[in-house]
């Protein structure tokens, strides 16, 4: 296997994969989340029960696609699940998901609902979806951001779609559903600071403390010592590239016309991916 240099998306996905463990359902909503699950199962946590879609298709051989994963489930006669099954797994703490919020704050509260006040939004986003269920039931909450900046990593979120380490959480829920980890394009963060504050656990190779501080909307403390995020092995890098033939991880990182062109190309290429007999065999 040739050793090609890895890119930061591959480093992030590998760091995300290392956070998953045990025999739990892992949901696939975004390309980064789906690839983190696939890498984790292949290299670090073989007992994971990956879902091919946000809600179904346990143990199906799948790849990230635009049309979600339902075609893989049907073609392979995979284990279908329903929403009741998924929420029972959440209530039982047998579920993990990588959540990509619009904002996360120093206490680990997250927002996907609104920029500005909820009743009078500056930008209305999508609504809290199932995040409130996750932050009231799971023992591990995983967040990632592709663009760590002072507007995404903020002192206080505009709306708490997910509960961070606040006094209200402590009173209502104790430690259940508390934020565990944030992986960004700059580093890996936990919430082990004073009063459950976000702190720097790892910096990615080549990223210094000053860069993280200036990209963060509040004063960050660092765990001591701050580690460097391990580089992904060449096997992991090759695996990620093989398992994302549509390049949806790159599409997720793009904005504007670049993203639109990528969508068109991915959509054209998707058909042969969905029609391949087995998703893992490198259809394209």
């Amino acid at each position: 296997m040739t050793t090609e240099p890895y890119r930061f998306d591959e480093l992030m996905i590998d760091a995300m994969a290392r956070e998953l463990s045990g025999e739990v359902l892992v949901s696939s909503v975004t390309a980064f989340g789906a690839l983190a699950g696939l890498v984790a199962k292949a290299f670090y946590a073989p007992d994971l029960a990956l879902l091919a879609t946000p809600e179904s298709g346990m143990d199906v051989d799948f790849l990230p696609s635009l049309s979600l994963g339902q075609f893989f489930i049907l073609a392979q006669r995979g284990i279908a699940l329903g929403m009741e099954e998924v929420f029972d797994a959440i209530f039982l703490d047998k579920f993990r998901i990588w959540i990509n919020p619009a904002q996360i704050d120093q206490r680990g509260s997250v927002n996907i609902s609104t920029i500005g006040p909820w009743a009078n939004p500056k930008v209305a986003l999508v609504g809290s979806r199932g995040i409130p269920e996750d932050t009231s039931h799971l023992s591990k909450l995983c967040y990632y951001l592709l663009d760590h900046n002072p507007r995404t990593v903020v002192a206080a979120v505009d709306f708490r779609s997910g509960a961070g380490n606040t006094a209200e959480r402590e009173q209502r829920l104790g430690r259940i559903g508390a934020p565990s980890v944030l992986v960004t394009n700059l580093g890996v963060f936990d919430f082990q600071g004073a009063h459950g504050q976000m702190q720097i656990r790892q910096l990615h190779p080549g990223v210094d403390l000053t860069a993280v501080e200036s990209a963060t909307g509040f004063h960050l403390t660092a765990a001591s010592p701050v580690a460097t995020t391990p580089e992904p092995s060449s096997e992991v890098v090759a695996f990620i590239r093989q398992h994302d033939p549509l390049g949806l991880r790159h599409m997720e990182m793009q904005k504007g016309s670049g993203a639109a062109k990528h969508q068109d190309q991915a959509w054209m290429d998707e058909r042969s991916l969905l029609e391949a007999p087995s998703a893992g065999e490198g259809a394209l």
Binding site: E55, L66, Q70, A75, L125, R129, E133
Partner: protein
């Protein structure tokens, strides 16, 4: 038993002010043919209940048919935010209640079970509880921690699009089932559209695949391509071009007015023709291995 009804006759039965639950999830298996028929009917002041909404909610807001939306999510996934939903949230032209995925399910379930509420921990310590007046935090009568009481959600109508149905109103959903079965059971009147009507004998052969029972169904509509432009596994994938066209037309009032007349305003057969016809759609969107 024959519950077959024409698409536009179905829409004509839904009066102004009705509460309508819509199945599917974001860009997957939305009952778009029924949604477009509802938009064409000129109905006003609808109250929509949707777990994960997308072009369904957005289109009905866009034609001015909606008074209030109860939702956990409304968006177009990788294609971004829902334009009319976003505008209506920001200019407050429509009322909104933000729920969550499970609490929508629990509210429907409370109606099905005819109980006053369902308790859960979902949403505790989040701002959803602060902005949504429907919920109550109550003491556990057995002495444990406080719980959130989720009140019943009682749709007058549910709109569900399935792969197959028979004339009696049994339905088969082959892809992800989302919260459609809960919607079908909770609504007073459930309309089931499908890609294809099968004989009851052929449908019965699908056995455990039957999820929608005829005891919950009031009307059946045969509407091939009825989820277009959303995903309908295994028959067809997302029509990216049609979705982008929608987003483009929705971005400008004049374009949108034209779109409501030329695309939404046409009957379903004409709509399918405008999308290139069944053959071209099959070539563009069909997935052969499934």
């Amino acid at each position: 038993m024959n519950k077959l009804v024409l698409l536009d006759d179905m829409a004509g039965q839904i009066p102004d002010g009705a509460t309508v639950a819509i199945g599917g999830s974001s860009i997957s298996r939305k009952p778009m043919a029924m949604v477009r028929a509802l938009a064409r009917s000129g109905v006003k002041d609808l109250r929509l209940i949707v777990d994960v909404g997308g072009p369904d909610v957005d289109l009905l807001i866009g034609v001015g048919a909606v008074r209030e939306v109860l939702y956990a999510f409304v968006g177009f996934e990788f294609l971004g935010l829902a334009p009319h939903f976003r505008a209506a949230r920001q200019n407050q032209s429509v009322a909104f209640q933000e729920w969550t995925e499970y609490t929508i399910m629990a509210g429907l379930d409370a109606t099905i079970k005819r109980i006053p509420f369902i308790p859960t921990h979902a949403g505790l310590a989040t701002d959803v509880l602060s902005v949504n007046p429907a919920f109550r935090v109550i003491a556990d009568p057995f002495g444990g921690d406080d719980v959130v009481a989720i009140p019943p959600l009682s749709p007058d109508f549910a709109l569900i699009h399935a792969n197959y149905a028979d004339r009696a109103g049994n339905g088969v959903i082959l892809g992800d089932s989302h919260v459609d079965v809960l919607c079908a059971k909770a609504a007073k009147t459930t309309f089931l559209s499908c890609e294809q009507v099968l004989s009851s004998k052929d449908l019965q052969n699908l056995g455990a695949g039957i999820q929608i029972l005829r005891i919950h169904t009031a009307g059946v509509i045969e509407a091939p391509w009825g989820a277009h432009p959303t995903i309908m596994a295994p028959g067809y994938r997302l029509d990216l071009g049609a979705m982008k066209d929608y987003l483009h037309q929705a971005s400008d009032p004049d374009l949108w007015l034209n779109y409501t007349q030329e695309v939404i305003g046409q009957d379903h057969e004409t709509y399918v023709k405008h999308q290139g016809g069944a053959l071209a759609l099959k070539q563009r969107l069909g997935v052969s291995s499934t």
